[in-house]
């Protein structure tokens, strides 16, 4: 998994994707699956960025090239962080999702602003009205006291 800078993703998704793909191929690696996993707010800022695009790849790289591969990712300023794990096989779901992304119909949603807050969608208008009602209730009592 590679965390990409949202500024690159905003400019050009293909360019952002090639950052990882080129690095893998540079070190004699073979890509099996690669896709945009998600775009999320980070739990803590990295390189002064609060959000990042998570890019998930499955690839094979000769073990001798892995230290150089790691170093290349670390030196790349567009890569906020990476995580390399060893897996036995590529999950079938990943292959399907990667194939869907490679299709011509796939559109990458533009990442929101770095400081954009995530507003929960669960709140209904009725809930908001209840909350407003709860807040206004004490002021009504104060008015009664003033009149008395």
């Amino acid at each position: 998994m590679v965390l990409l800078d949202n500024d690159v993703v905003r400019m050009d998704w293909k360019k952002a994707k090639s950052i990882v793909m080129d690095t893998v191929t540079k070190y004699d690696g073979t890509l099996k699956s690669c896709r945009r996993w998600d775009e999320r707010r980070l739990a803590y800022p990295m390189n002064r960025k609060n959000r990042a695009t998570f890019y998930l790849t499955y690839h094979e790289i000769p073990s001798d090239n892995i230290p150089a591969f790691r170093r290349d990712l670390e030196l790349n300023e567009r890569v906020l962080r990476y995580l390399i794990l060893a897996v036995d096989e590529v999950p079938e779901e990943e292959l399907k999702l990667a194939a869907e992304e490679d299709g011509a119909d796939y559109m990458v949603p533009e990442p929101p602003e770095d400081d954009a807050l995530e507003i929960p969608e669960e709140e209904d208008e009725e809930d908001v009205a209840d909350i407003v009602g709860d807040i206004e209730a004490p002021s009504a009592v104060e008015d009664v006291d003033d009149n008395a």
Binding site: M1, L3, W37, R40, L42, A43, Y44, M46, A52, F54, L80, R81, L83, L85
Partner: protein, 75 residues
């Protein structure tokens, strides 16, 4: 006066995982968050109810998620 048995704290066990289930994934943050305290610490085996292997899987998954910024280290 309350007996010692009454005073004893009753703590609910959170986890319900069979060892045959697939390995805990570091990307499943909603599931992993259940095993963190409000301060971001990993719950003990006593609280999670996991066996040794499953607790170790949980620990590894949470630490991986922290590394990639999916979960906080503190708070």
């Amino acid at each position: 006066m309350e007996s010692n048995a009454m005073k004893r704290r009753v703590r609910t066990v959170i986890g319900s995982k069979n060892c045959d289930d697939p390995i805990i994934d570091y990307k499943g943050t909603e599931y992993l968050e259940k095993f963190l305290t409000p301060q971001g610490q990993i719950l003990s085996r006593r609280r999670t109810g996991f066996c040794t292997q499953c607790q170790k899987q949980l620990k590894t998954a949470i630490k991986r998620a922290r590394h990639v910024g999916l979960l906080p280290f503190v708070g």
